[in-house]
Point group: C2
Chain length 76, copies 2
């Protein structure tokens, strides 16, 4: 499990959401995903599927590439 | 399910693998993923998780962003 890449991805999703001035609730409603699920994704606790990542990006009006530069992180 | 984005992703993974001159077997061995699983990912039949996508990208020496520009595709 590449836990640090999940954490970085979750952090970037949160940053992007906040840039839009959205609550987790707004993102959850727009992406049609449960709010508690969004919370766990943002904390990097959820190994989300590609289609869920696509749903989130669609809601955030960005492509997946906008959130995944330099991921996976090289092993330390 | 964003099936067309999965197909595009799979196609890009295949292209990147072929650019390296690799068989599915080589990619499977390097990424430590079953060969038949790689086949289904390349055909867009598998809704892979983010960590599996990271394993594949690590094997292909690229970041996730290199394979995910303009994904998800806008609905037609």
């Amino acid at each position: 499990m590449d836990q640090s890449s999940l954490k970085t991805l979750g952090h970037r999703i949160r940053e992007r959401r906040k840039t839009l001035g959205w609550t987790q609730e707004t993102l959850a409603d727009t992406a049609k995903i449960d709010r508690s699920y969004i919370g766990s994704v943002e904390r990097g606790e959820r190994n989300l599927t590609f289609t869920v990542l696509c749903q989130i990006c669609m809601a955030l009006s960005c492509d997946v590439a906008a959130l995944t530069a330099d991921l996976p992180e090289p092993p330390r």
